[in-house]
Amino acid sequence: MPIALYRIDDRLIHGQVVVGWGQPLELRFIVLVDDEVAGSEWEQELYRMGVPPEMSVYFHGVDDAVPRLAEYERMPEPGIVLTGNIATMQRLVAGAMGQVRAVNVGGVHHAPGRIGRLRYLFLTPAEEEGLREISAAGVDVTAQDVPTAKPVPLADILSATTST
């Protein structure tokens, strides 16, 4: 399983991904799926410079990423697929038709209209629905910011409330 993790994280490439998950999982590549970043050479350079030398970063829009997932699954070393929001992951899962078995919700932070579920997870009703639909497609959806934390199943996410 060269793609060790499909992760939703609005910070995209950052400390938790590169160090927190990157080191224990020995990640050697990141597939960053984001239509906006895929269209911006400058953004790509920004992220490329943020990763350690042993990691490669590949950039795709969603439509472009779907047909390449099988190729990434055949890579000799493990990697991670990252999206910045739930809608993008939902499109990816739908397009990949069964290739994605599990989705890690790693960070969706506070914004107007979102309800706090976990310390690092705030969701609008539409985003909750998005997660339900991903799950309904047979994908195991859990929230977990760092590897040492306990994964929180979707049902528990949606029944949780936070005061922050």
């Binding site: 609005d10 910070r11 995209l12 490439i13 950052h14 400390g15 991904v17 590169v18 160090v19 400058w42 920004l46 992220y47 410079m49 943020g50 990763v51 350690p52 969706v108 932070h109 506070h110 914004a111 310390r119 690092y120 922050t164």
Partner: protein, 130 residues
Amino acid sequence: MGSAAIPVRAIVAGHGTFASGIVSAVEQIAGRGDLFATVSNTGLSLDDIQQTLSRALDDSGARVIFTDLPAGSCTMAVRRLLRERPGVLLVTGINLSLLLDFAMHDGDDSLQAAQAALERGRASMTVHGA
């Protein structure tokens, strides 16, 4: 912390309480914690981190930002800001020796002080014993 009206010379930004923690150490050692404004990424999206840092730059007039980790979200947000803010310097991967050196050279131009402090910070990492 300390007496009033000391202009902020730099912003320290990082994970958790890294920034407030390392600045409290500068205060304890040199009494110069007031030279720094601090930003934490805890609970913030990338956009919010960027806005918080942008506000900190505007409010303080500082031209130097120190961050903890090269790939960290604060670092990424600052690098985004640098595009629209020429004249601002980012130093990432800082340690206490670096920050102290910067704090002790508050008469120098802040950009030059940051460059000089970089050497001190690098040199401070030493290994002893087996």
